[in-house]
């Protein structure tokens, strides 16, 4: 469905040191540098797949999405989406895709979302019957109710985002580019949006690429993740594999019925936190079974819990490692 090969986007950026002298000099002689926003990315995504696209700020995620949706022309390399070359912006291609950007909105500010939907219906040539059916479905799934008839400016951020999503889906796209769709939303709204996106993907078989700084979005929606940093691909695979690769240990939490000393707990793994009645440890996955068996046999364990480290921690570690590697280089 989506295929990127050797995709690059380089920008020529004016560079100038601070100060008046440098500013005046730059009026006559300018120095430029090449910023490699995306520098040779290859991956392909099958129809119906849900993929999380991760990376620190400035990694090149949004630039890649914009090239895949046809907004930006690549410097070199190739991108195809369902057999189309996005930068040609053929109508047939544009009718198959949608792009939602959490920080930008397409709804008309002073009019109710229903008016934007009506305009989109005409632009996308959606037959009236299909439009009515789809809008009804979206209204139910997103619980829009009366929201579509209120002026956009009167809606809360969460309500507006739901209406944005409905507007972007009114033409029934097959490929969804979602760039930070839950940014700024409260937790319950984030959950509602995730549920909706998953249901849409399952019911319509749509392909989905999601970028988000909320790891819960990625964990809930994307079995596969692609990580890029400084414009280059650094991981492509299952989310669990990424976690294992970055943090081979799992987190073992033990609660005791009687006080337990630090020395007794230290034998099981690396201590993260210790209190007489509770301990949190990091234990290698391969040693987890033995550690649990030993804890149950030797300590007054009342309750235990084994879990992966929080995804935020994993990503933070991954990004700080690549930052450190860059600094060394």
């Amino acid at each position: 469905m989506i295929r990127l090969s050797g995709l690059r986007k380089h920008y020529r950026v004016h560079k100038r040191p601070p100060g008046l002298k440098a500013a005046l000099k730059s009026l006559f002689k300018r120095e430029y540098e090449i910023v490699k926003a995306v520098d040779g990315i290859d991956f392909s995504i099958s129809p119906g797949e849900r993929v999380g696209f991760l990376g620190p700020n400035g990694a090149g995620k949004t630039t890649t999405l914009k090239m895949a949706s046809g907004l930006l022309h690549p410097t070199s390399g190739e991108v195809t989406v369902d057999g189309h070359t996005p930068q040609k912006r053929e109508n047939e291609f544009l009718k198959k895709i949608m792009l939602v950007m959490g920080q930008k909105q397409q709804l008309m500010w002073d009019l109710p979302p229903a008016d934007t939907y009506e305009l989109n219906r005409a632009i996308y040539d959606v037959p009236r019957a299909d439009f009515t059916k789809r809008l009804k479905e979206l209204t139910e799934l997103l619980e829009l109710g009366e929201l579509v008839t209120k002026p956009t400016r009167q809606l809360s951020l969460g309500e507006r985002m739901k209406c944005e999503l409905a507007g972007a889906l009114i033409h029934g796209p097959k490929v969804l580019f979602l760039d930070e769709p839950t940014i700024g939303l409260d937790v319950s709204m984030q959950v509602a949006m995730r549920d909706f996106i998953r249901r849409y993907n399952e019911e319509h078989g749509a392909t989905l690429i999601l970028t988000s700084h909320y790891m819960d979005d990625v964990a809930a929606l994307c079995p596969r993740v692609i990580v890029i940093d400084k414009g280059a691909l650094s991981f492509d695979g299952k989310l669990e594999d990424l976690v294992t690769q970055v943090r081979p240990e799992k987190r073992l939490t033990l609660r005791f019925s009687a006080p337990v000393s630090r020395e007794q707990v230290a034998e099981l793994g690396t201590i993260v936190k210790h209190e007489p009645a509770q301990a949190v440890l990091l234990v290698k996955q391969s040693a987890m079974n033995a550690a649990v068996a030993k804890a149950l046999a030797t300590l007054p364990v009342q309750d235990l819990n084994v879990e992966n480290p929080p995804l935020e921690e994993v990503m933070s570690e991954l990004f700080s490692r690549s930052r450190a590697a860059r600094e060394v280089a």
Binding site: K61, N91, N120, I123, Y124
Partner: protein, 264 residues
């Protein structure tokens, strides 16, 4: 073609909905329109006010007033139909929301150009009609049917020229950060269209005929109404307008090819 006409109808409907949201604007616009009509006419009274003053050579007071009426009408078209949509492009580029326009399966130039109309500016039709009435009353006879038809064609030509010039300015917004200055500059230059082109001489006359063809926009339609436009002038005006439109279209397409989007 019918699809685009349908889209235009829908965009007009959207603008009507917006206009209805802010009905107070109607009264403000009506007042502003009257004010601008007055300011457009007052300089003529200065020029033709006393019998000792020569006025504009080749143009009686009534004839010069026809040019002013053409100017008021075209200003209404500019403010009501051309400016709002294209001004919105500048905002779109700054906020990065032009992305949404470019991702729509329809011609982006059409979508941005028709995205917003200030329907209340239709009031300029009324004020220019009043000035036309006074002008022809002064002259002593009305225009011929052929004169009116030729003038209507030239108004269409003038609208196409104005639109193309705006597209060229807007295309600069993809490269220049502060395009506002260019729009102010253009508005100031357009102000010169209130005068018959014969007031300009030499290089300025050349500039206002071929580079920014203000003469084509107001003086030629006025001459058509007064029955003294040479047929060749009409033909070359139409040809010139189409060349302008083609160049503007080409530059627009090149500009969106270089669009870098904002944010993210």
């Amino acid at each position: 073609m019918t699809r685009y006409l349908r889209l235009l109808g829908l965009q007009l409907r959207t603008s009507a909905l917006l206009a209805a949201q802010y009905r107070f604007d109607f009264f403000v616009d009506a007042a502003i329109s009257l004010f601008w009509t007055a300011t457009a006419v007052v300089p003529l009274f200065v020029v033709y006010g006393e019998e000792t003053r020569p006025g504009i050579p080749g143009w009686s007071f009534g004839e010069a007033l026809v040019v002013t009426a053409c100017f008021i009408l075209l200003q209404g078209v500019l403010d009501g139909a051309i400016n709002p949509g294209l001004q919105a492009v500048i905002d779109h580029i700054r906020k990065g929301t032009l992305d949404f326009v470019l991702l729509k399966p329809a011609d982006a130039q059409f979508l941005v150009s028709t995205s917003r109309f200030m329907l209340w500016r239709v009031f300029s039709l009324v004020t220019s009609g009043i000035v036309f009435g006074i002008a022809f009353h002064q002259i002593g006879h009305g225009p011929s049917v052929l004169g009116v038809l030729t003038a209507l064609v030239l108004f269409a030509v003038a609208t196409l020229l104005l639109y193309s010039l705006w597209i060229l300015i807007i295309s600069a917004a993809f490269i220049v950060v502060k395009v506002d200055n260019l729009t102010y500059l253009f508005s100031s230059i357009f102000d010169a269209a209130r005068w018959p082109s014969s007031v300009f001489r030499g290089a300025v006359k050349f500039f206002f005929t071929f580079v920014i063809p203000l003469a084509v926009m107001t003086t030629f339609p006025a001459e058509a109404l007064l029955g003294r436009l040479a047929p060749m002038t009409l033909v070359s005006s139409i040809g010139g307008a189409f060349v302008f439109a083609a160049v503007a279209r080409r530059i627009w397409l090149r500009s969106i090819g270089h669009y870098t989007s904002a944010g993210g």
